[in-house]
Amino acid sequence: MYLDVYVYALFSILVFPGTIFLVALAFFTQYLIRKLSARYQRRMGPSYVGPIGLLQPFYDFLKLLRAKEEVVNRFSMPRLAEFALIIGVSCIVSSVIFLPISLLNVATVFDVLIFFYLSSVMPLFAMVIASLSMPSPYTNIGVSRLLSLVTIAEPAYFASILVPVYLATRGDGLFMSISSTYVNFSRLYSSPITLAILALSIIGFTVSIQVKAMYPPFNIPEAEQEIIAGYETEFSGPLLALARLLHDLDLVIALVIGVYVLLGGPAPFNHLSPLGGLVLVLKYLILLLLVVTLKNIMGRYRIDQALVQVFKYGLIPPILAAILALVAP
């Protein structure tokens, strides 16, 4: 029995849904974002590398990692930046053991808090530390804008995840557990009030994920052209590859938890059925399409406008959802 657990643990971390699968999903997601964005802008998007351009993000990553040089100056601390980014990527990879899709699924009370810490808080701090390790005037401005935005967006993201988990698991033995949320997801459809709460959480989630991904209208931390590339201005070569990977993984894991907690994962089917797998993929693509659409139809807010909009549309809906969840029967 213990041998099984070790084998499943190793397979979950190294292959599925850990390192290899997550990285492949990050590249595929990046491909879809670039392709869909291109179609919105009447361009072709990635088309030449691999079948229908599928391998373009992988080759871009490989080019940065293998072929490009690392550019440093006397104020740079590239080893610290590498260390921070590796910790960030590893935290996201290890958070998958709490997802019901994992072959070794760990469940405990309040595991959503550990998941949130690993998949959202640590990668953010890792990115900030890495950026500050490669300082420039633009990096500093980008980081201060990023920190300002996440001060509001992270609580919004946290609340929008927490509320459905609370509703689905209250009175359950595994209170505030992601696995239990997946099992009891039908409770969220049980009444119009819980549906309204779910809708408010989805609104908050959508806005906060746009901030986490730093996509328009909340791309002020990297504000291309205005402050060069903001927080990632001084990254180059392998460091830039790692930073981009961390960014993409952050988006992927947020979409995956959104699919499970807000949309019920493979519900009404289960993971092992082909229909369940299809529903899971469809829900992931719907969330991704929402993110890409918002990215392409909106312009960039100034930092003060962005903060107000995140507060209005990102934070207030999940707070209302939380209040409703506490009083809902």
Binding site: A9, L10, K68, R74, S90, I97, A107, S136, R145, G237
Partner: protein, 119 residues
Amino acid sequence: MKTTLVLDPSSALTIVVAVLGLSILTVSLLYYALKSRRVRVTNVYLSGEPESVVSSVTPSISSMYWGFMKRFAKSLYRVLVEGVHTGSLHDWYRFLSSWLALLVLLAVIVFIASIIAGW
């Protein structure tokens, strides 16, 4: 095919730390095995800023203050400055009789009541 371990929080944390260690090892090995070894040292480009901009380990406090408090909070303070602190008793009364002030008042009453009731 699939194993679900239902654990107590401390055991779950122990597993998470072990898994995190394994992940760090895997990602580090892959990264250092594949990364390019070429490094180019350049002069730092500061856009006319002093060196103190990059020699400190965190962004300057003033830029964070400017980014968050002064710009974001300005819209919040504006309500108080333009709506309440005008010197007019009417403005002060209008604000106090608004839904926002009633909400604040309600929160204070509930807070005091909860202390008195010993909740």
